[in-house]
Symmetry: C2
DNA sequence: GTCAGTTTAAAACGCTTGTTTGAATTTTGA
DNA sequence: TCAAAATTCAAACAAGCGTTTTAAACTGAC
């Protein structure tokens, strides 16, 4: 059974946005790919901007619900005790990686999302901020409970770094391939690679925030300062 | 002394590309910002694509020369002995962070570069691949010498993850600010934060490439830890 | 079969884009 | 000083954009 026009447009737009970017993808490309008339986009969505939002919302809402559900599951299991940092990372990034491994559309969407997160366009930034507000608040709280000694701002930065690594992990296999032969065929392997890296970064010792342009202590004592 | 038209165009284009992206920045915006005539871009550069390349080449060539110089300095100091991973990371990412801290143009350029690295446009991808080829080869070799037990591919991935973290560190302070109050005014602090995170991720234990979810034969049976 | 409501179709709209033109102006070199 | 070269300028170009319009083709309920 052929999906209806609206769905075909969403699918075609998603793929084209990944391949060419938001601006470079024209409505004519989209409607051609969806085998629909040019006017169909404005009929079903109202405008190109609204279509972009619809493309993102379709996947992103579900993705963040999954993230919160994963966090809920861990917290229920912990019965009030703080979670392990590894569990928090797993709940947030594991879900994303798994969605990125889904060949049925999720893959191309995640590549788009990672690239769009730093997009300067206003309406996208505000839209993403709204979509992410709740999930970030939840994970921020969970992390603060798990590691009360780590300053909130330090966590935000590390979370941000992790988002960057995730973004490149998902969207940048092509860029990586320019540097040498790599294999990104197995999502489980990518997942293991990224998780190892993320946990390592998250648990790194807190930086000595002195304006020290000179030598810093190369190694810290094995006290678990950061994580 | 007023810079000549060509330079004014490069400066204006760089700032506008950062603020609005490559596509969304029009030649009319650029020439207006440079106080030049619309035709000046095509006269001095030939086309908008050529202007984009010129904007990138002006900074990127110098940046990668600095990176290689930093690596040379460390290797001269080591007198043939392998470098410490920390030094390799410092040579590559430290230079970038320092350039990102430079208010005199370097800052805005680095925000642009980080965002562009995952750009899907063909001519940019091939251009960046050329510009990066030498420096990547050098750093890849240095890292392999330092940590011969870490598979090349694993290093490439971790390098890629680090690039993602760097990219977000530089270009994404605005995005981060949507999640909570952060302070990115002191580049030394950002440098310390990112370096700590990167080293932590780089030195993380190698992932057990056996997928935990289901039984799937790992590609390389390797149990040793990284770094 | 009829008819309202929904969806598709083809064509054109106004506008902006990068680029080109050809003349005016400034700069250069002997 | 003066012609030649380099640069700037205003204006126009064709092409492509997102959007709108108007009519035709469906769809399901009665």
């Amino acid at each position: 059974m052929e999906p209806d026009t609206r769905t075909r447009i969403l699918d075609a737009a998603e793929k084209l946005f990944v391949a060419h970017g938001l601006d470079a993808t024209t409505l004519r490309m989209i409607t051609a790919g969806a085998q629909a008339n040019l006017a169909a986009v404005n009929y079903h969505f109202g405008s190109k901007e609204a279509l972009i939002e619809a493309v993102f919302r379709r996947r992103l809402t579900w993705l963040n619900e999954q993230r919160i559900a994963a966090l809920d599951a861990f917290e229920a299991e912990a019965k009030g005790a703080p979670l392990k940092p590894r569990q928090i990372v797993e709940a947030f990034f594991g879900v994303a990686i798994r969605m990125a491994a889904d060949k049925g559309g999720g893959q191309s969407f995640m590549r788009l999302l990672g690239r769009t997160y730093t997009e300067p366009t206003d309406f996208i930034r505000t839209f993403l901020a709204e979509e992410y507000a709740e999930v970030i608040a939840r994970f921020n709280a969970a992390f603060f409970k798990a590691l009360p000694d780590v300053p909130q701002e330090e966590f935000l930065w590390r979370f941000h770094f992790m988002m960057g690594a995730l973004s490149y992990a998902i969207s940048g296999a092509d860029a990586l391939r320019l540097l040498g032969p790599v294999d990104d065929s197995d999502p489980d392997v990518l997942y293991a690679r990224l998780m190892s890296f993320l946990i390592g970064g998250l648990r790194a010792p807190l930086p000595a925030l002195l304006p020290a342009s000179q030598a810093k202590p190369a190694k810290k004592p094995r006290t678990r300062k950061a994580a």
